[in-house]
């Protein structure tokens, strides 16, 4: 009994597919994209990295004549990508409306808000934790993140502090 045309087509397609896969198996090791950086060594287990931010009105990218200051310490647990923080501020010109972590931005540049640092509330000091994405964690390690305290008077932010990497755990996380 003659085979239906669809079966023949399927078999032809299957042969084509098998041939294509065979060719791909041969060709794949020969193909590669442009030269990439060498692979990274394995990630250490139980790694934690620490950051500190000196918060001041003078760090804003726009002019905010204020007396606001503050500081923040951060611990990044790299196994779980959980960021822990303790942040305090003083001498704000008006009540705070938001406390946020921004990235990616070098000092003098502006980044998007990526973490709400006022989870338990806006009162100083505020403590909390949040889970980051891989990209957000890399922003911290690269030095491209900052804490921002926004107030009723300064809706774009009254005081800012860039996160600088610390060699050792700060007192808040010892």
């Amino acid at each position: 009994m003659p085979r239906p045309e669809s079966v023949i087509v399927l078999n032809v397609h299957r042969r084509t597919l098998v041939a294509a896969l065979a060719l791909a198996a041969v060709a794949t090791p020969l193909l590669a994209s442009a030269q990439a950086a060498p692979p990274l060594p394995p990630k250490p287990v139980g790694a934690k990295r620490y950051f500190h931010a000196e918060i001041s009105w003078a760090n804003n990218t726009y002019y905010t004549p204020s007396k606001a200051t503050g500081s923040a310490d951060f611990m990044l647990d790299l196994d779980t990508l959980t960021l822990h923080w303790v942040l305090s501020y003083e001498d704000l010109s008006s009540p705070p409306t938001a406390i946020t972590l921004h990235a990616p931005a070098q000092p003098g540049a502006t980044g998007a808000a990526i973490v709400n640092l006022a989870v338990p509330g806006l009162a100083s000091p505020t403590k909390g934790s949040a889970k980051l994405t891989d990209a957000q964690a890399e922003y911290l390690l690269t030095g491209w993140s900052y804490a921002l305290v926004t107030t009723r008077k300064y809706s774009k932010g009254e005081a800012r502090g860039q996160l600088d990497r610390l060699r050792k755990a700060p007192a808040a996380f010892q």
Partner: protein, 404 residues
């Protein structure tokens, strides 16, 4: 053996390398067969390679622990921190002129006390020390033969690295200087973009010819020549823009470039003897000869891969390195680096070829990862001539030199 060779350059087989993949594979196989039949005047086979990728070797850890204070501060950051907030607000229109804009780049680089360009007058300002690599591991080679930090006969004291495999005495001060600077790290703009430009323009390509090869796994003596590819010959690519193997390239006749040295093959890896050489280099819209002293190369020549990666290490001439940094001034923001910081660090960390009069070292130990493809090389009448220092206009490196 994957490397193509030829006695008579410009064969039709090599020209066919621009054909689609299937045909290319056939040609690749044919070229491999041809390899067994060819030989040089010295006897043995000849292998050819085109260097299609070139990266500064930077050893990175997953959490950037080689840079314990974080990455290096860029020029814009240093400028921005030095300007009072009121003045900054005026200059940047209340922060709306961002670092990458041409206006701000110009403002930030002219931050000398009298408006000097700090890339051309790096001592006109005193920046915080450059954040350099503090990790103990690096790619590279033991160039000075010493495994302690006092250096060898032709080097200055410096801290050695260990290789990722544990080999002691690795010299790589170029990595120490650039390893914490974003632009030279993975995903950094400088190396990725330069490699893309070389691929797309076919500029600045090094050709390598290994002759007198009796056995690609073990050979006590081979001859290795470096050439500059003629600018008129383009790199053929497939539909993924990957460079095809087994193309034929003409050697450039400019006497400035190239050189010859001896080498040996150990366990399939070609190891060359030190060579003073000037190589072509192109990247980020910049043509800049690379001046290396005591350069050596390790390349696994018995691999059957389309792309073969190896290491080039040696001492980069200090003036040549500084010229490279200055020409990249327009990348200060995207590369996130600062000229004065690099200038001070390179003077402090130079570790090779001490000046007989001053004792100050005049070169930086360095390592580069290269990516090659098998190639045919035509060099009728062209012989590599060795080190000729390019006639680069002497750059004023201090304000006082400018005044003179």
């Amino acid at each position: 053996m994957a490397n193509s060779t030829m006695k008579s350059p410009g064969s039709s087989a090599s020209r066919a390398a621009t054909a689609p993949l299937g045909l290319a594979l056939v040609v690749f196989g044919a070229a491999t067969l041809l390899a067994g039949c060819s030989g040089s005047e010295r006897g043995g086979k000849t292998l050819g390679f085109a260097v299609v990728g070139w990266r500064t070797s930077v050893y990175e850890t997953p959490y950037m622990d080689e840079c314990p204070d974080g990455l290096a501060q860029g020029n814009d950051e240093l400028w921005w921190k030095g300007v009072p907030p009121e003045e900054r607000a005026i200059l940047t229109k209340d922060g709306t002129i961002e670092p990458v804009t041409a206006t701000r780049r110009a403002m930030s680089v002219l931050r000398g006390p009298k408006g000097e360009d700090v890339c051309w007058n790096p001592t006109s300002v005193k920046d915080p020390p450059l954040r350099v690599v503090e990790g103990g591991t690096s790619y590279g080679m033991n160039l000075d033969g010493s495994t302690d930090d006092q250096g060898g006969a032709n080097s200055c004291p410096h801290v050695n690295f260990k290789s990722p495999k544990g080999e002691a005495g690795i010299d790589n001060q170029l990595y120490r200087i650039l390893g914490c600077t974003y632009g030279w790290r993975r995903h950094g703009y400088i190396e990725d973009n330069a490699n893309g430009e070389r691929r797309d323009t076919s500029h600045g390509i090094v050709l390598i010819e290994v002759s007198g090869v009796d056995d690609v796994t073990h050979d006590d003596q081979v001859e290795v020549a470096f050439f500059k590819k003629a600018e008129g010959d383009s790199l053929p690519k497939d539909h993924r823009a990957d460079i095809l193997p087994n193309a034929t390239y003409r050697a450039d006749s400019t006497p400035r470039y190239g050189g010859k040295t001896r080498g040996r093959i150990v366990d399939g890896v070609l190891e060359t003897e030190p060579l003073d050489v000037t190589l072509p280099f192109y990247g980020n819209l910049t043509h800049l000869p690379l001046v290396m002293k005591g350069m050596r190369m390790q390349l696994p020549v018995n691999k059957a891969d389309r792309f073969i990666e190896g290491t080039v290490a040696g001492y980069q001439d200090l003036d040549n390195f500084w010229d490279y940094v200055q020409r990249y001034e327009y990348l200060l923001v995207t590369g996130q680096f600062s000229c004065p910081g690099i200038y001070v660090a390179m003077k402090e960390l130079a570790d090779g070829y001490p000046d007989p009069k001053t004792g100050a070292c005049t070169a930086l130990s360095a390592a580069f990862t290269i990516r090659t493809v098998p190639a045919f090389i035509e060099h009728d009448g062209v012989e590599p001539s060795g080190l000729v220092k390019p006639a680069v206009a002497r750059v004023a490196s201090t304000s006082s030199e400018v005044a003179r």
